[in-house]
Amino acid sequence: MKSIFSKILAKISLPFLAFALAIFSGGILIAFSDRTVLPLIGSPWKFFTAAVHSAGNAYLALFQGSIFDSNLAKNGSFLKGFYPLTESLLIAAPLILAGLSVALAFKAGLFNIGAQGQFIFGAIGASYIGFAYELPPILHVLLALITAMVFSAIWGGFVGLLKAKTGAHEVIVTIMLNYVASFFLLWLLKTKVFLRPRAINPLAPPVHDSAKLPQFLGSDIRLNIGIFLALIAAYFVWWILNRSTWGFRFRAVGANAAAARTAGISVAFVTTAVMSISGALAGLGGAVQTLGSQFELTPDVAGSFGFDAITVALLGRANPVGTVFAAILFGALRAGGLTMQANTQNPVDIVLVIQALIVLFISAPALVKYIFRLKGLKGGASVASKGWNG
């Protein structure tokens, strides 16, 4: 028991410490960007208390906006105070899926920068089935999700095929295909099929109610079964990687392609298969976003999901469980950031700074170890510092 516990501790301590450092440095930034704090710099004690007060308020608002808000709890039951947490999870669901897409590819030695494009194709597929057909509820959702995954699997698999057949580097190809996907979406939204009747701006018709992902905490709470889809997908990715022959091949190619080839594993097949599955995961993320919270296809449906996905997978050290937690953390930062902006004078951008700081500290394990005077803390450099050689 003890060894399992210490193993887990060793695994999470680095991301945790990086998070703590980011929060600390972010606090300093918040204090310095507060106009009421800076003039007090003449008297150190006043300055210090004002700074702590300012940062504390901002983080309190962040907490209230992302996890628990006691004001909401007062008006009704205690549980209602957790409304912000459901909002965080709502944002986290598509991010988990997109993050898994990057993480899975990474385990097979592929750097999938294309989650953004794959996400867009998933959103297109889900949206089309959602508004163009009228079907019984469960069937409608299923069909929309499957279509989204097929679209994005083809989109992602194409990259794998290119790499397998021509040696084209997946980083370049996926970056470029992200642009293609964005502009394809923009064009698509102006076509007759997709443009909402009487709309001037590019906007697709809303999806039918039967295609929306069912909510399970009452109609006031937007959280829907998308989060379960994401968790099931995380389990699925874990299972594939660690318990299936497919995953064995994926990992073998990722760790040493030459040895995998010598053992009779087809590197070309693995590359294509991994990119297809990765594409499908990101596409499912796009579908969850479209059918779960946005309900209509817009040009910026993907927001920064596809790019945050890379950060999330990195933070989660490319392992499915880690990716889930990292995505929830990012979901919480995003949900809380809005409240922080509304309640305090801090811009929502400070959240982006904290996100960036987390990534910075995660990718510099030596720095974190030095700051905390740690010896023998395992790893960390692995994900951040390798992989660009494809």
Partner: protein
């Protein structure tokens, strides 16, 4: 100049790599330091060269005690070192590499290479090195690159030259050249510390031998000592270097290769018209200097080469166009040339490495589902059978020593029902104990009725294991000769002198 070490001690955590080592290298002497991998030879020399600092002990050069903290100190004291892995920049010329770190400049900060080139030509001529200062390093054969390293040491006035496993990367011819050059250097007054685990080279070149085992000096010997004596001192138990094998019991033809050609993507023909038959119960060794198409031939048998024509029949079945998986399943065991690169996945557990090519077969998997418990259970059996020394089968393969890594590869490949064993350089870089194990295993494979195709650049290995020897030169098999062929004749064949033609230099 003489080199004297007294009581050198160095520990890494609980591991004592050097335990109060005393060593005296006389002026103008080739002193061999003999020991298995991990005995502490390299640690000792890194201390002498200033790359590591000792916990205790003193170093004297020419009778003067020195405080060597960095390689710069060592160089200043006249100590030069040629590392096992060369410290050269591949895209630089020989001259550029040699001046690196000691660049002299002309006006406007321009590099003055002419002087360096002159120096290189002078040293090169003095020792018959034949090195062109303008050649790009990466285009040079390994043997010449090593000479560049040696010249680098000599130009900066090294009087004590440390050669760390200098022959590990060399072909037999290059090795002979090196040994000759070493004697030449010695005769001109340079002391040489020669680190190795190869016994024949020690006997041939050394004036004195110090044997190190587990960080301690366990004895000294003269080159007149027998190989058995040296090996036993090195390993710490009696070693028999005589390979005992019964006469081959030939069976059916297992492998039949007809007119095999292999091209690379640039259209060069690397394997030319090879025809070869191999019967069950025999070992055919393919001898040749590295880079004469042996690797491509071996890879073509497994299906790793793309542009192959001709015919490969395994047990009568045509596998010329088969992919790797089909060839493995048709009954080929493949021990690749580089176990680190092609044989194992360093970050995978030992248990996983034992099933790399079996992972989707029963009992390890059914359909897409794998059974880690079965994988682990089978791994325990294999590990015991092949005497792999390890802590846990769940440890990564990178935690194993070279010999144990090779045992894992052997355990995986030989535990399948195979008809043909293709072994490429199976003992390269291994210590004496592991070589003994691999050789015994190869013979027992033969005796159990498998056909063995052994690729080796080590003449000793070829002669002691083979039933027949095929010599490859420039992509062709230029002769197939019996195993009692003389070394001299084999050497000529390996140099490309065809039987029936007169040797001409």
């Amino acid at each position: 100049m003489s080199l004297e070490l007294r009581g050198i001690t160095k520990s890494f955590g609980p591991l004592v790599a050097n335990d109060s080592i005393d060593l005296f290298v006389a002026d103008g002497e080739i002193h061999a330091i003999l020991g298995e991998n991990g005995a502490g030879k390299s640690t000792l020399m890194n201390i002498v060269y200033g790359l590591l600092s000792p916990d205790a002990g003193t170093i004297s050069v020419g009778g003067k005690e020195l405080n060597i903290q960095t390689p710069t100190d060592a160089l200043a004291a006249g100590i030069g070192m040629v590392h096992q892995h060369f410290m050269l920049i591949p895209v630089f010329t020989v001259a550029e590499n040699i001046v690196l770190g000691h660049e002299k400049t002309r006006r406007f900060g321009l590099l003055d290479l002419e002087k360096a080139k002159e120096e290189i030509r002078r040293v090169s001529k003095e020792f018959n090195f034949d090195v062109d200062p303008d050649a790009i390093v990466e285009t040079l054969p390994v043997g010449i690159q090593q000479r560049v390293e040696i010249i680098k040491a000599l130009i900066y006035d090294a009087k004590v030259l440390i050669l760390d496993e200098p022959t590990a990367v060399l072909t037999p011819q290059e090795t002979d050249e090196l040994l000759k050059n070493m004697k030449n250097l010695r005769d001109k007054g340079t002391s040489i510390v020669f680190i190795t685990h190869k016994l024949r080279e020690v006997q041939e070149a050394a004036d004195k031998i110090t044997i190190i085992r587990r960080g301690k000096v366990v004895g000294t010997a003269l080159p007149s000592a027998s190989q058995e004596e040296l090996a036993s001192l090195m390993v710490g138990r009696p070693i028999s270097l005589d390979i005992k094998k019964k006469p081959a019991q030939l069976g059916e033809v297992v492998l039949s290769v007809k007119n095999l050609n292999v091209h690379d993507v640039r259209g060069r023909r690397l394997v030319k018209n090879i025809s070869l038959e191999l019967r069950a119960g025999e070992i055919v060794a393919v001898a040749g200097v590295q880079g004469n198409g042996q690797s491509e031939f071996a890879q073509a048998l497994l299906g790793l080469e793309e542009l192959v024509d001709g015919e490969i029949l395994l047990d009568g079945k045509n596998i010329t166009k088969a992919n790797v998986r089909e060839s493995l399943h048709a009954g080929i065991a493949y021990i690749p040339e580089s176990r680190e690169l092609d044989g194992l996945i360093a970050s995978f557990s030992i248990a996983e490495n034992l099933i790399l090519d079996l992972h989707d077969l029963e009992p390890y998997a059914k359909g897409p589902i794998m059974f880690p418990n079965v994988v682990a259970k089978e791994a325990e059996i294999r590990v015991k059978e092949f005497d792999v020394r390890l802590q846990s089968i769940q440890d990564p393969a990178s935690s194993l020593s070279g010999g144990n890594k090779q045992k894992v590869v052997l355990a995986r490949e030989l535990s399948r029902p195979v008809k043909l064993v293709v072994a490429s350089q199976p003992t390269r870089g291994l210590d004496v104990g592991s070589i003994e194990f691999v050789h015994e295993r190869i013979i027992s494979e033969r005796d159990s009725g498998r056909a063995v195709l052994l690729f080796s650049t080590e003449l000793d290995e070829v002669i002691s294991l083979a039933d027949r020897i095929a010599v490859m030169y420039a992509g062709e098999i230029i002769a197939i000769v019996p195993s009692d062929t003389s070394r001299a004749k084999l050497g000529l064949l390996m140099a490309g002198v065809r039987p029936g033609t007169k040797a001409s230099a």
